[in-house]
């Protein structure tokens, strides 16, 4: 286990290095440079040149990459070419917001998904099951920007209620933070719930068919003990897998929800960076998301061994 952990952590280094080269190359291949985007069709060629020079973008690409990567190794993500702000504090601050949103979203999703998923499995083909299955189908097929827009407009039109606009730290004012995050987190939660619910249902259906469940039944255990004591743990590997993947995707991919509800999270930060060709912001942001993604995956792998002792590394 210990050596496995060391091996996994060590393997992150080439992965992150590869990502850094890839993102740098792709980003610099994309047409458009920050200076001409900033100046738009107001630009004079000399103004563009002067601006690029002041941002250090007149240097050869290889030098730019080396400067960037040596900075990163020293914990210096550089400054945004657009606003002159330090990038690392921004990434951390915005990641914390995205994390808050993700945690809310995932919690809402799981609270909906797991009980209803189990219910629809043990009452397969009942009315409850049909309702759950229709919900999962809708949750998976309706895009989250549509859900978000409907929630936003619905609440403001019919209840004249609009979530507070400024993001609040959960620990400073939980109620206000809850109000800020409730609509965006529900938007994400519905999508999360649909996936997890489906997985829970099919995992449970499969487990309930196993011999040990029959044995448990034969021993005269109550339904509750069978479901929670025997089936739950044995069904949770696929559920944890999909839930883990969702956390990873949500952390990097909450862009649309953040954009829709003006949540200044990491996704929005990177997206804005892409529009503006703010190279250091995009590079640093993507590298950070990649790091989080692989760490979440590592954690999921470790949780497997806890759930199922037969899994050994």
């Amino acid at each position: 286990m210990g050596s496995y952990l060391i091996k996994r952590v060590a393997s992150l280094i080439p992965i992150l290095f590869g990502i850094s080269v890839l993102i740098f190359t792709i980003l610099h291949l994309v047409p458009g440079d920050p200076a001409s985007i900033m100046l738009g069709t107001n630009a004079t060629p000399e103004a563009i040149a002067a601006l690029n020079k002041s941002m250090g973008l007149d240097q050869p690409l290889i030098n730019q990459y080396l400067n960037w990567i040596t900075g990163i190794l020293q914990g210096n993500f550089g400054v945004s070419v657009h606003t002159g702000e330090e990038i690392l504090p921004q990434i951390l601050k915005r990641f914390a917001i995205t994390m808050q949103l993700t945690v809310f979203g995932v919690l809402i999703g799981w609270v909906l998904a797991i009980p209803f998923g189990i219910l629809s499995a043990i009452r397969a083909h009942s009315k409850t099951d049909i309702v759950v299955r229709v919900f999962t189908l809708l949750g998976i097929s309706v895009p989250n920007f549509a859900i978000g827009t409907l929630l936003l407009l619905g609440f403001s039109l019919y209840f004249n209620w609009f979530p507070p606009i400024d993001v609040v730290n959960f620990w400073e004012d939980p109620i206000e933070a809850f109000k800020v995050f409730i609509l965006p987190a529900t938007t994400m939660g519905i999508v999360v719930a649909a996936g997890v619910m489906r997985m829970t249902r099919s995992a449970f259906l499969e487990t309930m068919d196993k011999d040990f469940i029959r044995t448990a039944r034969a021993k005269g255990n109550s339904k509750w003990t069978i479901v929670m004591g025997h089936a739950f743990r044995n069904s949770s590997i696929p559920i944890v897998t999909i839930a883990g993947m969702q956390i990873g995707y949500l952390l990097g991919g909450s862009v649309i929800v953040e954009q829709l509800f003006s949540i200044p999270g990491l996704g929005q930060y990177i997206l804005e960076g892409i529009y503006q060709r703010d190279y250091p912001v995009v590079q640093g942001g993507v590298l950070f998301v990649a790091l989080v993604f692989v760490l979440v995956n590592l954690l999921i792998d470790l949780i497997y061994t806890w759930i199922d002792p037969r899994i050994k590394y």
């Binding site: 047409p31 936003l152 039109l157 609040v168 730290n169 959960f170």
Partner: protein, 511 residues
């Protein structure tokens, strides 16, 4: 046991991470106005995040709307687009037009308490003109030879040649007066303007507080302005309807949706922008003037106004109609009459009786540009020109625009506040924004002469002639000048004008 610890770690990780969030604390009392207390803060929805506040370097509209409230320029435009005093209380132009003397307001202070003097003006303009600054306004002041400080409140601009647009250009927010000795204006913004920078929370809002020492004692009328960053139009609509924001710019379509809704009024004004179809006059077959003329006859501008702008736009020439003093009535242009037969005949004369294939580049970022391109595509089909539309992402669009190598391109220009910009900057042979390779010595001569003519009626004649020449040569087809729309809460006294949002915000009050 170990496993429990692991699970506990996983769960608490999320909580710890959200705990370390700087998250931003909610500004107190914003918009909520405590019981019995009058609301004094104006909340404006901003579609884009500001990208720094250096008025000489940052042209982004999202930044300009903020720094133009913090800084002042020497002159400004009133609601009728006339140039009126601002930091300069008056000015004198020598008879030969080569010397402009600006007399500054007395007793104006920067936000840091320092007096604003002629030295600051000299410093600001020299900073703009220094190529290392990379200032956007540098080309506005290319005629300036030297700046002299006569006394603390008098500055003399010596020009290489008479420049009739000089005073108008000093009204630009890009020509704001900054404190002498400023080096890095990216983050800290210290001006003489009606508002001071209070707080800027990246990704969330910018808060400005009233400058109590503003030289115009009557203004501004609100205590603070908060620009709330809301990138999504649906969110802005929901926010204005539920009263979370007071003012929001909205699209023409959304304006229609909001009309007659309780608590909200829609206000509009004729913008200084116009849409165009750009034509690369170096590319075959567009190097043939007859082909360009044919395209002009084939395009029905009124249909574009109806389809793209739902009738809420005005026909335009090279100068947007909002610049009433300079713009020529489009009815005077013969090629503005749609005549498909004549267009076909011209095309045949040019050697293309069966038309040809080409492509139109446009920016996917702006739905109106895409729609305009689609309407034109249909109209050109009628004379046998088959155009493919290429929707480009903004960065790519700018690159294509700069390349001077496109065929046809749909875009939008801002006329600027002086005819010189609309004409020379975009279409003279050496004009910085002339990417159409248009070069006509007679046109160059006209606009250069207009620039150095001080007599206004003489100048107007020259520009009339230049506009007619430009429309006939058609390096661009000038299409429509749209209106801009604001949704405004009922209790807000806000009147937008072409002079700009900033001008209107300073005068805004809360009822």
């Amino acid at each position: 046991m170990k496993k429990r610890v692991l699970a506990g770690f996983f769960l608490s990780l999320s909580l710890v991470l959200s705990a370390c969030s700087g998250g931003g604390t909610a500004p107190t009392e914003q918009g909520k106005s405590a019981e019995g207390q009058a609301k004094t803060e104006l909340i404006v929805a901003a579609e884009q995040e500001p990208v720094g506040y250096d008025p000489h370097k940052v042209p982004a509209a999202s930044s300009l709307r903020v720094y133009a409230l913090i800084y002042d320029s020497l002159t400004k435009l009133d609601e009728n687009m006339n140039i009126v005093p601002n930091l300069a209380e008056k000015w004198e132009i020598a008879p030969d037009g080569k010397t402009v003397t600006m007399f500054l307001q007395k007793g104006v202070k920067f936000h840091n308490g320092k007096d604003m003097t002629a030295e600051d003006v000299k410093f600001s303009f020299e900073r703009i003109m220094n190529p290392d600054t990379g200032s956007i306004a540098k080309s506005y002041f290319s005629s300036v030879e030297a700046i002299e400080v006569k006394d603390p409140t008098t500055v003399v601009f010596k020009l290489k040649n008479a420049d009739a647009s000089f005073v108008a250009n000093t009204a630009s927010a890009y020509a704001s007066i900054v404190p002498a000795g400023s080096t890095d204006l990216t983050k800290e913004a210290i001006g003489t303007g009606p508002f001071k920078m209070e707080k800027s929370e990246s990704g969330q809002y910018v808060l400005l507080k009233k400058n109590p020492e503003y030289f115009n004692k009557e203004l501004p009328k609100v205590e603070s302005i908060k620009f709330q960053i809301m990138k999504d139009e649906a969110e802005r609509l929901a926010a204005i309807r539920s009263g979370k924001v007071d003012i929001s710019m909205v699209s023409a379509d959304s304006a229609k949706l909001l009309e007659g809704k309780p608590g909200v009024q829609i206000k509009n004004y004729q913008s200084l922008e116009y849409s165009y179809l750009g034509i690369n006059v170096n590319k075959k077959p567009f190097d043939n003037p007859k082909v360009r003329e044919a395209i002009s006859y084939a395009v029905d501008r009124n249909q574009i106004i109806q389809t793209v702008w739902k009738g809420e736009a005005t026909l335009t020439g090279p100068i947007a109609p909002a610049l009433t003093n300079s713009a020529l009535d489009p009815a005077t242009y013969p090629t503005y009459k749609t005549d498909v037969e004549k267009a076909k005949q011209l095309l045949a004369e040019a050697g293309y009786p069966n038309g040809f294939e080409t492509q139109i580049e446009t920016a996917a970022t702006y739905p109106d540009m895409v729609e305009t391109a689609q309407v034109i595509q249909q109209q050109l089909k009628a004379i046998g020109i088959n155009a493919k539309i290429n929707q480009l992402e903004w960065g790519n669009y700018i690159d294509t625009w700069k390349s001077k190598d496109m065929n046809l391109m749909v875009g939008r220009n801002t006329s600027g506040v002086d005819a010189d910009r609309s004409m020379r900057f975009f279409f003279s042979t050496t004009g910085s924004a002339n990417v159409w390779n248009y070069s006509n010595p007679a046109y160059d001569e006209l606009v250069q002469k207009a620039l150095t003519t001080v007599d206004q009626s003489e100048r107007k004649k020259l520009y009339d002639e230049a506009q007619t020449m430009l429309v006939a040569d058609a390096p661009n087809l000038f299409l429509a000048s749209p209106k801009n729309y604001y949704a405004v809460r009922d209790n807000i006294d806000f009147t937008p004008t072409a002079a700009g949002e900033v001008y209107s915000l300073i005068k805004t009050s809360i009822k």
